[in-house]
Amino acid sequence: MRLALTVNGRVRMAETAPARRLADVLREELGLTGTKIGCNAGDCGACTVLLDGAQICACLVSAAQADGRSVVTVEGLAETGALGALQSAFLRHGAAQCGICTPGMLMAASDLLAREPHPGEKAVLDALSGVLCRCTGYRKIVAAVLDVADADGAPAPAVGTAVGARVPKIDGAAKLTGSERFAADAAPADALFLRAVRSPYARARFTLGSFAALHARYPGLARVLTAADIPGSNRFGIYPTGKDQPALAEGEVRFRGEAVLALVGDAATVEAIADEALPVAWEELPPVTGIAAALAPGAPALHAEKPDNLLVTGRLVRGDVEAAIAGAAAVVQGAYRTTFVEHAYIEPEAGYARRIGDRIEIFACTQTPYMDRDELALILGIRPDQVRILPSAVGGGFGGKLDLSLQPLIAVAAWLLRRPVRCVYTRPESMASTTKRHPASIRARIAADAEGRLLAVDFHADFNTGAYASWGPTVASRVPVHASGPYIVPNVRAIARAIYTNETPAGAFRGFGVPQTAVATETLLDELAEKLGIDALELRLNNALRPGLATATGQVLGASVGLVPCLKALKPRWRSARAEAARLNRGDGVVRHGVGFAAMWYGIGNTSISNPSTMRIGLDREGALTLYSGAVDIGQGANTILMQICADALGAPLAGLRLVAGDTDRTADAGKSSASRQTFISGAAVTRAAADLRRQILALAGLGEPAEIRFGGNPVTVRQGGDLRWVDLAALPASNETGDVLAGSGTFDPPTTPLDEDGQGAPYASYAFAAQLAEVAVDLGLGTVKVRRVTAAHDVGRAINPTQVEGQIHGGVAQGLGMALMEEYVPARTENLHDYLIPTIGDVPEIECLLVEAADPLGPYGAKGIGEPALVPTAPAILNAIYHATGVRLRQLPATPDRVRTALLAAGKGECHG
């Protein structure tokens, strides 16, 4: 049909099928890619637009229904070029992190504000309730909508004061206008589409027939890719020794959702071909489901080289645990189970590949461009320098975009067909085929003497690593180090095993097994405190790691150990919240209040292995400075943080700095955006690059540090005392590649040592510390838990940007809350965002952030990391609060209403119907 609609005030025409989703018409026909697609099912609200002034999901409206009507998209909010008041408020409050939900949030808020210019919080929650966000924890979004009127932007920080300032995101405006290019937002016009065909079975053998009939019936089908088409190695994986995952399965599938074929052709054709019509003969086999089944005698081996399904074991032994427990005044123990958790970033995987001569370019969402480059070179059988990775803006990662997803498929297709090839995962496909948080089965014992001094931690965790290795070895190595918590424990035995099953591969997810670990140990510490009659916070305080003390790995900590200040910062709220809960619990109401508390530590960067970052800063002939950063901003704000560090390390104004980010042809390897490492490691690399550039300038000026270098044009002036000199940049030869005349380079690799067979060594150069306090209300009759408030104290070394640090804490708390109360991924059952529940805007409470800055001498301006620490203590704090409210311990996550109610009834505490 010929469609005519008014979009953002202008009449637009499009030729389209009448049933086509309005979201597709806007994006594909009208080029308005500011409207995002997160689920195509009305579950996430990312595609929210105004239709005749009312917010609707553009994925649920047919083109025919939109005909003749008025549509406003995010592009219509800032048509004059300047941000509107609502967008400015989002920028000021840090309400956009990755930015993928931002257009939907803005449109929902616009709908509200048009009807109600001064809404209260409840109205904001109701109006925005249909849009899911996975990054921000919603609180800064709510604050922004409530604060639209106050439109004054913060002034740019003066030279030398960028670090520590609440600088708006460098890339914030693009996220607020819809101009940011996420993975599905750009592709060459002549790109073919690729659709992966995936296994409906968790374990099966299959044989492929001839595709001749298919090609005859579908002329738009350009190629069917099978494993036989992979030019190089059909194996990928994170560790050089653990590459066990095929890009396309070879006659056998090991999990439901594994790719067996890829159809490449025009979009309509690859969508129209039903899986059932393909010549695939399946032989379904009984799957290995769960850890116990995988370890049972006679269980089928997933991988021949691992006959017992045991991928890897991590181990830490210090002292004599058995003797210590035998002699202890108090011992507590428990067994815990956690489940698969889905990252649920609102952006499904997407991207395109393009062959240019003997090189391949990949534009896709990723957290690790250089690892992608090297892996794809192996898969294509070419050199790494023949692969160029162009990271898109990333619509949420959280660890889930560290592994390859669609990149091998589009790369192989584009390589063989010599045509650009694009692919966009559907939400169910994204959920079924990409990694999850490892389910854990944990047994732990903790022992103390009568005064509450910790004597021993005995910890055993089995992690379900699913069908392929992915980051299982990282979990197995990181968990034992963290198993004894941020405490002095003389006797520790900690074992962590990663075990193969026929389930979705478990990989990296914010914390690498440490959140699951903390669920066990931090709730056990509460039990220990109760048993000994010691206040739970005091018990932690008495045992807290401090500067100069040794960890369970024997590593003597340096100066940056901020646990004690975190605990002390929480004390006033700990006392007042308990008093308030006691007051609210007077009488025999059906809703009981409780306060819980948990602490954590977290090693920044990779465990005991080199993980360097290299940063470059260029200065061109006109005096313009450019930071070349290979560190991917996945919404956490790395771009802004690194620019703030860069400005102050150079002594240059932030406003004049340019950024080139991600492109592997133009930036150096900064390592992965994972392990909470970019601020600490890449930030330190930026300070070194800045020092290098300053050195070169000073040498040209014939001076040395300390000196004041004034950037901002040509020439650059250098002042040392009364001595004023200048460097004429125009006289210097320019690089062909960058146009820069000077370039500073800096590399930082955090100093660590390998762990010996007892897990002894210095696995991390820096540790973050934190403690969080959760206040909950439990409905005894229904088992529902409402988190009413979270207070989070975090030692971040130095808050380079307090707004962004708070944003990370809010988002981590929201994910921890989801893990504690509602998130449970079940293959084949919860492959969408209405059966898989993440917190909505109404589930995340007020979060107070208390920032502690125990500067790390190795970190840039003392900074450490915050990404993962933000999430680790939340779930155990909530579980402890549930116990405080009800006297019932939940040892299986998530603590859904039925599990809580069942536990209450079992404990004789729920006999009420009313």
């Binding site: 649920l60 025919a64 249909g130 509602m822 909505t840």
Partner: protein, 280 residues
């Protein structure tokens, strides 16, 4: 690609349905989610341009709610207080985007066991009007939904309106939903009640529970027990496990069967207490 008809005249729509079976499309909130990643190749009858199917009207002894009336229309409509349960339910159907798109007939025709719109309409004793080229028929809602995602609608029929009879006495209505998060949640249990009260006593009670059986059910035994009782605080204590014996809840990811029965009892008891405490 299939047919796509978007008539403005009901007769035209019914003629098309008489011709061949088509997928009826209105708010799209169930249609599109069922087709993620799939070609849109259905023969579609889009009924959103049928003006006669939209809106709420007082028709004397009953209210007539047009098939394509959206949840946000119901929220915004000025209606007697015995519609309060339906209005509360309307606010729980997805987020505002879904309320702005989803229709009352779509909720009924989709026939999800957990549909939030069904228990309040059962408690209102609603009926549905089905039209075809051959004429019209009216079915009680309880007879219309025949199973999990199954209805009595014949392929050539269109659900044109929901008919809600006016209560004989002063009535009050409530709605309660249990889910594992605040917004956008498929109910673990959903319940609705309408109490007709005369001289402080319950003249008629209608209570319905969803997500605890393939089709939401009225609790007739409980309704009988409540009839004649004083509408006063403590009413919730009337509810006993035996009143829920006719439900057939299942174990699924949202909760166990045992939990559902237990929670249904609690929800209904609280609902009755709330209604008993509310001003008539």
């Amino acid at each position: 690609m299939g047919l796509y008809l978007r008539p403005t005249d009901l007769a035209e729509a019914l003629a098309a349905l008489a011709e061949s079976p088509m997928t009826v499309l209105a708010g799209g909130t169930d249609f599109y989610p069922a087709r993620v990643g799939r070609a849109l190749d259905d023969d579609i009858l889009d009924i959103t341009a049928l003006a006669s199917l939209s809106g709420i009207a007082d028709a004397g002894d009953h209210f007539r709610i047009g098939a394509t009336t959206r949840w946000s229309d119901i929220i915004a409509a000025e209606l007697p207080n015995w519609f309060d349960g339906l209005k509360l339910a309307a606010r729980e159907v997805g987020g505002v985007q879904i309320q702005n798109a989803g229709t009352i007939a779509g909720n009924l025709c989709n026939a999800s066991p957990a549909a939030d719109g069904v228990p309040p309409l059962l408690a209102l004793d609603a009926a549905v009007e089905l039209a075809s080229r051959g004429g019209k028929r009216v079915l009680p809602l309880a007879s219309f939904i025949t199973g999990n995602h199954r209805t009595a609608r014949a392929p050539q029929e269109l659900l044109t309106a929901v008919l809600v009879p006016k209560p004989r006495c002063k009535a009050r209505a409530g709605f309660a939903k249990l889910g594992a998060r605040k917004y956008l949640v498929i109910s673990i249990v959903v319940a609705a009640a309408v109490l007709e009260v005369a001289e402080g006593r319950i003249a008629a009670a209608r209570i319905a529970v969803g997500a605890c059986s393939p089709v939401a059910q009225r609790l007739r035994d409980l309704e009988g027990t409540l009839r004649g009782r004083r509408c006063a605080p403590g009413l919730g204590r009337t509810v006993e496990a035996v009143h829920l014996a006719g439900l057939a809840p299942i174990d699924d990811i949202r909760g166990t069967a045992v939990y559902r029965s237990d929670a249904a009892r609690t929800l209904i008891a609280r609902l009755l207490d709330d209604l008993a405490g509310a001003a008539a």
